[in-house]
Amino acid sequence: MLAEAFTYTTPRTEEIIRLLPELILSAAGTFMMVLIPLAKDRYPSLFGNFSIVAILSAIAASLFAFTNPGTAFSDLMVVDGFATFFRVLVLSVGITTVLSSYRFLHREGTDPGEFHALILFSLAGQCLMVSANSLIMIFIGLEISSIATYILCGYLRDDKRANESALKYFLLGSFATAFFLYGIAIVYGATGSVALTDIRRVLISAASPPVAMIGIAIALMLVGILFKISAAPFQVWAPDVYQGAPTPVTSFMSAGPKAAAFAIFLRIFMTAFQSDAHGWAPLVWLSALLSMTIGNFGALLQNNIKRIMAYSSIAHAGYVLVALAACSEIGTAAAMFYLAAYACMNIGMFAVVVHLSGKGERHLSIEDFAGLGVTQPVTAALLTVLILSLIGVPLTGGFFGKFYIFKAALQSNLVWLTVLGLLNSAVASYYYLRILVMMYMREPGEVTSNIEPLPFTLQAALFLPVLGTFILGVFPGALINFANHSAALK
């Protein structure tokens, strides 16, 4: 054993290429840290532009790495269709976050440098998570992503709400991560490996698989992952954290890290623990139902747009869990499609909230949307598209997302869950439609009468997601085909 520990191989070129997106992001983030003290306040847009270039090159690197898919560094990570899909997804979320934060950071009078560096580090962690093929690598990616996100939540350090948000997220988040880590330790104890493929082999081929130990490990890891995707019964943190965090960060958290957490959920449970599906699928079933119900009914009672979006985010996590409860390849593909569609609608939505809330984020009540349709017709129309997508109206990405998920659920005979999910969607339309009613059927209020047109960067952060929503809603074929091809995890 000891001799084996000393064998090493210098990384081969294709291995470096498979790690290239993470390398680019961390190098760019580190370089930016050096640049911050040198540039001081002289070039306010420098950091944002730099991170957009870095993220675009990381997307290019992910696509280039996919031309020669395979594993790297003794199976520690794997570049396949699944990993590439999620890498491009979280990186696109990163770009729109940067776009919606230019004006925000300027308005709140805070330093842009560290903000963008943290976004880059968080993205590097998420890219590592989605392409990791071993529990330890998944854990490292999860930590890189989470720690950067904890800091981002409290980025406005003079704001008490942001402090509360960061502290709550940090304390609860590190507790959840500890559960996850304990699960990894037990898996290693029971199977003798942390590599997903090895665990799968042991669990399938062992004469007497360590059922009790794996059961405990699965339960512990579920706690950690369900927390990260803000699914019930571990959703309590989400409304407070989402409300207190700076709005671009809320938008980032609800799309990027969440998608990455779903990616590791799918990868771990559809490969390593697939043979134990009869054990964990009922738990996912229950969590899906609870998340949808708590999320949608919770949102009915809220009046703060960020809290509404937080509860809506819990509910949407519930919909994706329906696809996971199906535990089939088309379920995985449906979850992938839904996460892409959800990222589009959420980010566009928050871009408008960033603009509307004004300095110090004072205007977050739903009444502040009153009359937006009159004063800013284009913005309101684009927002309407996103809200219709959140409800799941045809011709939007949200419709096909729900369609594929419930189709996958029905194929796995989850009839009750499908029925309850559809009923939940009906409940959800109430609070989404309230925003539409406010925008089009109320007289313009103080906020909307004095609102300036959206600056260019926020226009881009709103327009690109709307475009994505339409593309996914009108031509879903291309993406769902890709998802179906890459859903077979090995």
Partner: protein, 134 residues
């Protein structure tokens, strides 16, 4: 290979004896040779420079925490150098490059905190932004 329990545990016993000898030599010699000053401050138990009796809820300057955190960071860096030295002969160039990357990353962090004024304890720095007191 040691054959009996005595041979196995002999190094441990030796270590204990040496440790005790060194410790008592230090205390003993300083007792015998050292200058003796008796005053109130000198006789107070040492507790990291803080008065040992009184309200524990002081307000500390945030600089203390920054320095403490940075100490831990750079301390860990030094710890990584030990195992690196042990395997350096086997890994050669590969290990050298890896450690170079690691040290450059640490240096970037060092440059950042230095330029941000974390190491500067004087009050009058106009280019460092300090959050207003509540």
């Amino acid at each position: 290979m040691p054959t009996s329990a005595g041979q196995t545990w002999f190094p441990v016993a030796l270590q204990i004896v040496i440790a005790m000898a060194v410790a008592s030599a230090m205390i003993g010699f300083s007792y015998l040779l050292g200058k003796k000053v008796k005053n109130k401050v000198k006789d107070t138990p040492y507790e990291s420079g803080v008065p040992p009796v009184g309200d524990a809820r002081h307000r500390f300057s945030v600089k203390f925490y920054l320095v403490a955190m940075l100490f831990i960071l750079f301390d860990i860096e030094a710890i990584f150098l030990y195992p690196w030295v042990v395997v350096f002969k086997e890994l050669r160039m590969f290990a050298f490059v890896e450690m170079l990357v690691f040290v450059i990353l640490i240096l970037c962090g060092f440059f950042y905190i230095w330029k941000k004024g974390v190491l500067d304890w004087s009050e009058d720095r106009s280019d460092v932004k300090v959050a207003p007191r509540p």
